[in-house]
């Protein structure tokens, strides 16, 4: 499979994402934000970083890049799109995912390992995650507090769109395990048609045991499984 990894000015996890996909035995190329085409990509990753210096709002400027028009069209055709950290913020700003990411409730930048509970395993981003497995994945963000109005939160819950929630090491969704104040401890969601997902934690930084955890692989493996011939 071939992944397109977008690259905006001040993306800084683009190479990590390319590396993570290559480690899994697949190919990935960087696609510069001024490109109007994604080429023959099977899936898209919008990586982390500080696109356009986080000016105005995180992701607010990147969403108007030419490549994002191509991503919107790709997503509308059912293509798999995963946004990580700043990529999640960009997808929300672009309206490809509901809600928004705001400043962490304690105003601090958090750079630490978190535990994630998977809420719905019936999606292309979660299907390969073993049942009851908690993912240990790092976060690194200052604006990761997920916000959406009550109606949207209800839709996310009833539609099985909450993919990952911050939890403690026993899998409990406690306030202490919520690093940023996200509503419902939300760490990651998908759209209603389940082909676009975003999360604040970095699976790209947890894809090899040498990095301390390879739990992030389950997310990429799920996407690869969904894309494989004969896959779901």
């Amino acid at each position: 499979m071939h992944f397109a990894v977008l690259q905006f000015p001040a993306s800084n996890c683009d190479q990590d994402c390319v590396h993570a996909i290559r480690v899994l035995g697949h190919t990935a190329d960087l696609v510069w934000h001024k490109e109007a085409s994604l080429g023959n990509s099977d899936a898209v990753i919008v990586p982390g970083g500080f696109s356009y210096g986080d000016y105005l709002r995180c992701g607010a400027i990147a969403r108007f890049s030419p490549v994002m028009q191509a991503v919107s069209e790709f997503a509308a055709r059912g293509g798999l799109v995963l946004g990580i950290c700043n990529g999640f913020q960009i997808l929300c700003e672009a309206g490809l995912l509901p809600g928004a990411l705001i400043r962490n409730r304690d105003l601090q930048f958090h750079c630490e390992q978190v535990f994630l509970k998977t809420g719905n395993r019936e999606t292309p981003f979660t299907r390969q995650i073993p049942p009851a497995k908690l993912l240990r994945i790092p976060i690194a963000h200052g604006d990761g507090c997920y916000f959406a109005d009550e109606q949207t939160l209800e839709q996310l819950q009833t539609g099985g769109q909450i993919l990952w929630q911050y939890c403690d090491d026993a899998g409990e969704l406690t306030d202490n395990s919520n690093p940023n104040g996200s509503l419902l401890n939300i760490a990651g969601i998908c759209n209603a048609s389940r082909n676009v997902a975003g999360l604040m934690p970095h699976p790209d930084r947890a894809s090899e045991t040498i990095l301390g955890s390879d739990d992030g692989r389950w997310i990429f493996e799920s996407m690869l499984h969904a894309l494989a011939p004969g896959g779901p």
């Binding site: 105005l56 607010a60 959406a148």
Partner: protein, 80 residues
Amino acid sequence: MKAKIIITPKKAVLDPQGKVVENTLIHMGYQGVTGVHVGKYVEIDLAPGTDRETAKATLNEAAHKFLSNPVIEDYRLEIE
């Protein structure tokens, strides 16, 4: 001609900056402070002779689509 756009967090949205500033004002002894909301201010220079109503419509669109995020923010547009 200038357009001024004042962007504030929606009341339902957690505003930790506003809360910290509020607490500090109270700590400093300023009486009667019951709420603080920290937002953004955008000033846009417009070409002389720009039609006020057209500018208002255009900038309302820009503020809705780009300068503010309606999910989390409200804005107020003034043209002078």
